[in-house]
Symmetry: C2
Subunit: 710 residues, 2 copies
């Protein structure tokens, strides 16, 4: 694999500090101090025309005066100087510049213009830009600390963040944890040049990074990030916390980062389709990523719970069930084995309570763990209560050593069976020796039962994402049908962005979607084809000037017989012609009345961030009142379509209610896949609205179709 | 107020340890040790016939040998000895006994019998029982530590728990917090004698307790607890975490405590109606209670957010919005004031980001806090980011003292304006001096943004509970109508537990509920009254032996004209008579076809734990597919009924959809209140099912009524 072009910037051998300072309050001083403290082994070149020496290092008047090659420049000078500084970097052959200053596009129009000039300078001189408006970058493995924060631990977590504050919060979690640390952190800032997608690809390639944490408020290019992340999640887990999920949060996020949030429902779907693990609590981000850094690819759906007392096992069972995880029965042999280990146990079935009449003791811990992990019904173990914290209650040598030994054996069992263990402990903040042994061995130890459950849910989400990838290659984009292109071309020639309904029906039919038979009646050709006259029909006005047909009196239902239909069509043309004399009335569409069945809506929307997405929901009150719709971005894989059917709240309707038959799921899935292919084949189509589609046991009927062009 | 009779047991002057031991591994040793360590100032009397002295205290062979009066006995002896021990306690005049042993009703039928005998002994000898199967009790203010846990801090939180493990988790939270501690803890155990309701009343009366935490898996008497808590929450907050919310959690809980969970939806409604703050994450319990112990009764709906950087303010805005809290605009004067305080602030409107071009500094903190708290649009402040933790980043005397001073001024501002402050801090676990100042001054400091938001939501929930209490006294129970009693009496005489539909309609009418006109046709009286023959009607078979009328061919709709109706009725009696020759066919009910409108279901259910509750939901697919129903326990106050209308997911339907008019809310609320009164007036009615009721702009029509008797 070709190394990422930004690797040299994030793992520099030589760093220039532009705007270096002798003032300890200034960033140009603190950065150098942090590089020393963190043990950065490369060259540090302070640049400041007014100084000769800073912190014992020779200080250069400008980049040109530096006698070595420079990989990365930390630019501490104000915003207005940026284009000049970047040009200077280019002349020196600097590979990348970290622009700390704010006051660019996020601040004002003038700032946006300055940002554009800075970017142009970078492109002209071959200098990649990180930021501007960034907190900086660090790499814990090389000691390249350009953020100035103390106490950054080395580990396996890569961090990509739109907020320094949020990244700092992850650092403090790491310090408290004591074992889980970082590879590289990038404050993406305004994403002027290098964007989320390029960074996440870098993390995908970086061998030291075993899980990537992404904090985002909005993306410059959401679809690009999703595409990059889709490739990365096949190799390692990506955990995303997205702020701006609510209208209030979005408002706060936009004013902070200036970036566009997009629709969260579409965005969340896009992220999950790409295999990203989406967390929605800031206090779960770190632990979920830690768990994934150890156990990526392992299932964690069927959980064994182990404790030495009640209470917490009830809480754990609730927390798992609320996250869709299962607490299966153990095999009888496992229960029998548990009984031999802890004969007085209060509960030998899952959830297992090995406490009992006697006081709990760490000696039960490892054998119970092994017994549960060995069970074929179990994917992972959740230990709740005191495990790892006995020594906080009773700090004798025997207890401490017993518990440390139990921790070692739990680590060994997790490795032997290839199954994750998450430990919730009331004393987690004490960080005992046993906990350090566990954490070093890949067992995540947390204080909160709910966070522990979230870790397991995160493992399972990543595992399901991998399974989805393995099952479904992205379907190929079909060739557009010549007739479809002709219909679109004709509409565009007439300057129309909305297809007329018969055009939409013909386009769908040309693309392989079944549409009902229809006829167009006009004043010149008012005759109803015999096939349509036999059963009740609906008639609808066809006009490029009428958006809401019903409101304009342009819909009549349940007509029957050639004469009645022709009369009604003629009357409709007359009355609308009188009411809207300027409207072009193309004719009247005649279609059979739909069979009874389940009403759904199916459509294609275009999200400003994530591109085209399919929308699916139950029609009628479900969409109007309950907003029961789900999204998936295109291209839709079969698994996506099937998930959409299962994800709507009213899913029971599809299985048949009140004694009605189940709908033809296969026909619906096929329709969705064909519609996805159609939308992919025609970039010029921005919106498709099939509303309603009537489903029954033998297929689907499209009752109304609307297609918009770019 | 009469002091609670259990006060002397929980605040004993003299304690006997029955089953005292010299073995440091035994509870009978550790309890004495804990009493010493915790500084218990009263008398401790170890009882053990085999010992003369334990831990320097004289040991007595039996209770009778103790030369002082004893208030509380800690019983460490095995279960089987309990009845005898309790009798001995009675002879000595012991007021209460804490029974640690398990092996009673939670374990087996024999254990249940032993528990009954133990209770009988207590009642016979005037000894109140705590437990059995309890972890014990402590009182941090007197040092009465009978649980043996170390490090119990004195404070204002009372704890009532069905799990020692969960209580222990609260203790460790308190130790980490450093400021928030406890009054009294009771492990309720099997609730053999003293139950949740009596304990919670005690906490209501205890002046040192400012908030009560309740952990419950199930109740022996849920309705009793709710009634007691309803009284207590008028005086001080009660925070409840209920395990067993899910089927899995309930299973785990039942096998642990042996108690019946009841329906969580009904239980949660009952708790909230009683003014209890219900939390559904174990990791929020402690902090929410801490916040309430300081700020009970204060509103926290309209939140000002303050930070020194973006990112976290977006996260905070999401977390508040997701919990239904608001982030209102500040007054222009407040924004202007903020600008004078921090001219370079990134964002001067709410959420306020006082960071900016310059590095953030604690000097902005207190004046910004004051400016926001002084704003009339703001109920409470959420500070996110670093406030209180600057000294972790930059530990100079100036920063530390500046921040400590800011903390003092924030405390003063919170008091001056009578508005709560919650601080989220990335360094919360460092517990800085500034944080200690804050916590001592009633500012809750937490690590998690979501927990901080939960604290505010908890404050607001308690405040709303108080407002509800103030608004709505419990409605008086009406007298039962004589005709209603006669109908019930007649059905009982005939041994029927279900009223026939015309009986149900007459009972409803007699109780002041409007029912449609109806007639009963029989073979002997087949004539249709003229008033009913004029419009389409529905006919339904009346039979005590037919439960599902439609399935039996006992429903026909849309009949019109006296002859057609009479014929159909006769045919129905014939065909059902043939099909079900043993069924008693009382006649055929004739009612007008209902007008079109919004279909709802309204009913009374009887929950095994919480008694009678009203059920309300939208009919049709809403209830069948979406399970969109809400509950409130009886008696229903007007505010409860109005909340029910707003709580269903499909509430928009009631306001009119698709251009339809809004329903007559007032008529619906009146119906609900009358139905509640009816159910309260008739203890013998266990279930009422009005399904459907059709609502429109002019009132309601009951289409089907079903009433069950005990």
């Amino acid at each position: 694999m070709m190394p990422s072009p930004i690797r040299d910037i994030l793992k520099p051998r030589a760093i220039a500090i532009i705007g270096a300072s002798r003032d300890p309050a200034k960033r140009g001083y603190r950065a150098i101090e942090a590089l020393f403290r963190q043990g950065f082994a490369g060259i540090i070149a302070p640049i400041n025309p007014k100084e000769k020496e800073i912190l014992g290092l020779p200080c250069y008047p400008n980049l040109a005066a530096v006698p070595h090659a420079i990989d990365t420049a930390l630019v501490c000078t104000p915003a207005h100087a940026a284009p000049g500084v970047i040009a200077e970097c280019g002349a020196k052959g600097v590979k990348g510049a970290v622009l700390l200053a704010g006051g660019f596009g996020e601040a004002s129009d003038a700032g946006a213009e300055l940002e554009a000039r800075t970017l142009a300078a970078g492109q002209a001189h071959g200098v990649r830009l990180i930021g501007p408006n960034t907190n900086g970058i660090f790499d814990a493995h090389t000691g390249m600390n350009l953020v100035g924060w103390p106490g950054i631990y080395k580990g396996a977590l890569g961090v990509l963040s739109q907020s320094g504050n949020v990244a700092m919060s992850l650092m403090t979690s790491s310090i408290r944890n004591g074992q889980a640390g970082f590879t590289t952190f990038v404050g993406v800032g305004n994403e002027s040049d290098i964007r989320f997608d390029e960074y996440v690809r870098y993390f995908g390639e970086d061998e030291e990074t075993r899980a990537v944490i992404v904090y985002a408020e909005g993306f410059e290019d959401g679809a690009g990030f999703v595409a990059a992340a889709r490739a990365v999640t096949a190799i390692k887990p990506v955990v995303l916390y997205k702020a701006g999920r609510t209208r209030q949060g979005e408002g706060a996020a936009r004013s902070h980062s200036g970036s566009l949030a997009g629709d969260y429902a579409v965005g969340r779907a896009a992220m999950r389709q790409a295999g990203i693990v989406v967390v929605e609590r800031s206090d779960e981000m770190f632990s979920v990523a830690e768990a994934l850094s150890h156990h990526a690819g392992r299932a964690a759906l069927r959980i064994g719970i182990l404790s030495e007392g009640g209470g917490v096992i009830s809480q754990a069972a609730d927390a798992l069930a609320e996250r869709g995880l299962q607490i299966p029965l153990l095999e009888p042999a496992s229960e029998a084995l548990l009984k031999t280990i802890s004969p007085n146990a209060s509960q030998l079935f899952n959830p297992v309570d090995y406490g009992g009449a006697t006081d709990p003791h760490p000696r039960y811990l490892a054998p119970c763990t092994r017994a549960i992990l060995a069970d074929p019904n179990i994917d992972a173990l959740l230990s709740v209560g005191y495990a790892g914290g006995y020594q906080c209650r009773n700090d004798t040598d025997a207890i401490r050593e017993g518990e440390n030994q139990a921790a070692r054996e739990m680590v060994a069992a997790s490795r032997e069976f290839g199954k994750p263990i998450i430990v919730q402990n009331h004393y987690a903040e004490w960080n005992t020796e046993a906990m350090r042994i566990m954490r070093e061995g890949g067992i995540v130890v947390v204080r909160s039962i709910e966070v522990a459950a979230a870790c397991l849910a995160g493992l399972d989400a990543h595992h399901r994402g991998l399974a989805r990838k393995a099952a479904a290659a992205s379907p190929p984009v079909p060739e557009p049908a010549p007739e479809a292109l002709a219909i679109i071309g004709a509409a565009r020639t007439e300057g129309r962005a909305a297809l007329l309904e018969p055009e939409a029906l013909r386009l769908l039919a040309a693309s392989g979607i079944a549409v009902p038979p229809f006829a167009i009646l006009t004043r010149d050709a008012p005759a109803v084809p015999g096939a349509l006259a036999a059963a009740p029909v609906a008639i609808k006005i066809i006009s490029p000037d009428i958006l809401h047909k019903s409101d304009a009196g342009g819909v009549r239902l349940g007509l029957q017989g050639a004469a009645a239909i022709a009369d009604a069509a003629s009357a409709m043309l007359d009355s609308i012609g009188r009411a809207l004399p300027d409207a072009i009335l193309t004719g009247v569409l005649v279609t059979p009345m739909a069979r009874k069945g389940v009403e759904v809506i199916l459509g294609i929307v275009s999200d400003p961030q994530y591109g085209k997405a399919m929308l699916f929901g139950l029609g009628g009150v479900f969409v109007e009142v309950m907003n029961d719709v789900v999204f998936r971005t295109l291209p839709l894989a079969r698994g996506d379509a099937e998930e959409m059917l299962d994800e709507i709240k009213g899913r029971a309707v599809l299985d048949g209610i009140r004694g009605g038959p189940a709908i033809d799921r296969e026909a619906l899935v096929a329709l969705m896949l064909t519609l996805s292919g159609l939308a992919a084949a025609h970039p010029e189509i921005t919106e498709i609205d099939l509303n309603p589609v009537i489903l029954d046991a033998s297929g689907y009927t499209i009752v109304d179709a609307r297609i918009l062009l770019a």
